[in-house]
Amino acid sequence: MGGKQSLLSDEDLHDYQTLTFLSRQEILQVLKRFIQVTSTSNRHEGIFERRLSKKQATKLAELRENPFRERIVEVFSSHRDDSLSFEDFLDMMSVFSEHAPKSVKVSYAFKIYQGINTKHRPENEVATSDAIDLYDIKEIIDRLSGKQFNDVDLTKIAEAVINEVDLRADKKITAEIFEYFLSNVPDFPSSFVIKLSDGKT
């Protein structure tokens, strides 16, 4: 563990402890995991230069079975190039940790779900900025149900979902509405958790 710690200075660790929801020990575990997963492609680079590509990241045990894995990587990629630096990876593990507050989790959940559907839209329909629309919900349902529903059913389900919270009758879920309703779900923080893998699986 001492070897891993030397890759990060005390100042780095202190900053990360201040800015994330992880303990010193947990940060070092994340570092260890990051080194482990980037050692094949970035062996000779420093920890801050190493990057985890989208392809590599989605194959990690932490994300492999997650239906939103690509989207998660996109959201946490600070360079917007769909690759993760160590700090991005740490940020991701912090948001998905058990200790992150509900408000932070809700905010990132919105980021993940908003604009998730970029492909299956009619040509004249553009993704709504700052709101989850019907096409996003269809995509979410499609992924959650393992692509088992046809388009008619998907539309029907998505409309039923949006009708539950559609206060303005514009078929959109704004950040405020999303936050408001999701904050009232008691078990959401316990399921919006990704545990760090030991790398054996």
Partner: protein, 657 residues
Amino acid sequence: MEAQVTEAVRQAGNLQNLVDQNGKLLERRPQNADEIYRSTADALSHEFDQDYSKISHYIQRKLDWPLSFKRLLLHHVQKDVYDNKGKLDNIANFVFDPTANIKPRRSFHILIPTIASVERQYGSGVSALFHLQNGFFFINLLTLIVWLALIIIPYNVLKSSTTSSNLTFTFASIFTTKDYLSESNLFQGSYPRGVINDKYNLSLIYLITTYIYFIIWFIFITIRFSITYKRKVFNSILSAKLGIGFMCTFARCDYTIKSDKEKRKHIKAFQRQFLDLIGNDETIESNHQNRFKTCGYKFKLVITSLLHIVLAIGLGGINWLILSSCNNPTIDCSGSIIYIALINRLMPYCIVLLTQIEHFKSLADKLNAVGFRCIFLNVSIMLSFSIYFFIHAPPCYETAYGQYIYILLLSDLFASLVFPILFGLLFDIICGKKKRNFDGINLHVQLSPPVLLYSQFLVWLGIYFSPLISIMILINILFSFISHRLYIYIRSLRSDSYKRVFIWNAHRLEYLIYLLAYIILIVSVTFIVVFTTQIKPSENCGPFRQLNVSYEIIEIFLNEYQSSVLWISIINFLTSPGFIYFLGATFIVIVYKLRHESLAEKELVFIRDSNLANKKKLREKTVKKLHQQQKNKKQKRKPVKITRVENDDYVQRDEQL
């Protein structure tokens, strides 16, 4: 004060807007990063008066920037703060606010993690049952501590030198309550008056503890009922069926899943719930369409409910007859005990079955019908027993009544352990394959709350006569929790475990649970109040022996300590039977207030949302206008450009313009 709050909210909103804007700028113009960081750091320092701990807390929680951006911002803030403030300030900050740098506390839940998976699979209605057990367990634990701290421990510490029992403990006495157990601290009869009165006024403290016990319960049920009522009202105002749709899509995706097998199960559960969503929508629509066809619906409901009331009274009457065939209404009248235990625990299953045959317009009506009918049956049986008991009170009836309730709780304990698994699986086998609307899960959702409330009702009736009876309900809840959890586990092992089940709404269920709890608490309190103010304590038993009524102890105390009018008034008020009803009235006022709060909350959501929409529309209109103006200008310029060649002076003037 309101103005200050509004100003604070406005400022917070401004800061958040600025920070969000700067975050976007950082992505668009990385060359200006230093400037953006500086302006953000200045804004934060200004907002939080250069309090580093508050700023870092804000950056950690409120900023959704990437970590690398946050870190650079933190460095700018650090630089600002350390430039402007000396280290002494930090020391001072530590002295005045030592918790500033401590990380937020982790919330501690014992049962929630295990319940979360149940909620994801069967909906919030099923998990509400476990939340109910969780809440009741902790309040019973708290009240047990109150009894231990105020009665049991002081009594045992003080009595040791004066009295001792010759009886030894036998295992059989746990089931018969005779010999050792009847003489133990479990029952009121074993607390003598006058033995330790010089050191500790046991009689007075005993009565006050009873009142404290019920006040704790009133507070708990009021709070819980208020919360669920608020949710229900808010839910109905919004006309939102917030439940499976929004919850499935956004709240139930389990990010912790790592194996393919779990994922496949998870997907199946989602498929089922999404199908339910369409199914339920269709059901609701068809119900609305058929609304006018069921004109005699209410009349039918009233008639069937009346029949159930008559049935409950009839069963209570049979209990009266059984009791009258015994010499004394004590635990020796085993026929009555068996009858009460069986009727109270088995009849609810018959009521649920009968209710399934009836046609209900909505699930809420069905749920309410089952809950009210079961509770009315329990109240009817227990009142028939209690009234008979006090009319034909045996000697040392305080202990006898406690023993009776104890035996009933013991049988209930057994039922709590066996019935959920037994009947759950039985109903799954009989009904589950054909009808998904009524299987084991549905049975438990409808029946478990009234059953738990029956156990609690027994404790509320018996606590005054048997102060340690809370232990029984603690074990009962534990057994019930294990049994329900085990049933769900066994069910999950079956191949068709992920078939479609009916998803129940937790808000509706919780509201009903606490409403029923409130009703039976009122019945129990009335019973205790009548008992303590009207019925003479037995001559040789309990701390109130030789008094005309138990409540007389308060009057004696007040006569002895008539030193301060204020003190007397407070004691008189707190210990008067009407105080509990005063709490009841407060409860109604709170509910009324909450209703208005929820209305206001809804208004706020609308206002916020429409404000955002209006702003957006305004911005779009302004952009369109500007765009139009620019177009017009360009169109005007076009002929000017042509003339440019002809007249250079004119062009210059136009450019100036």
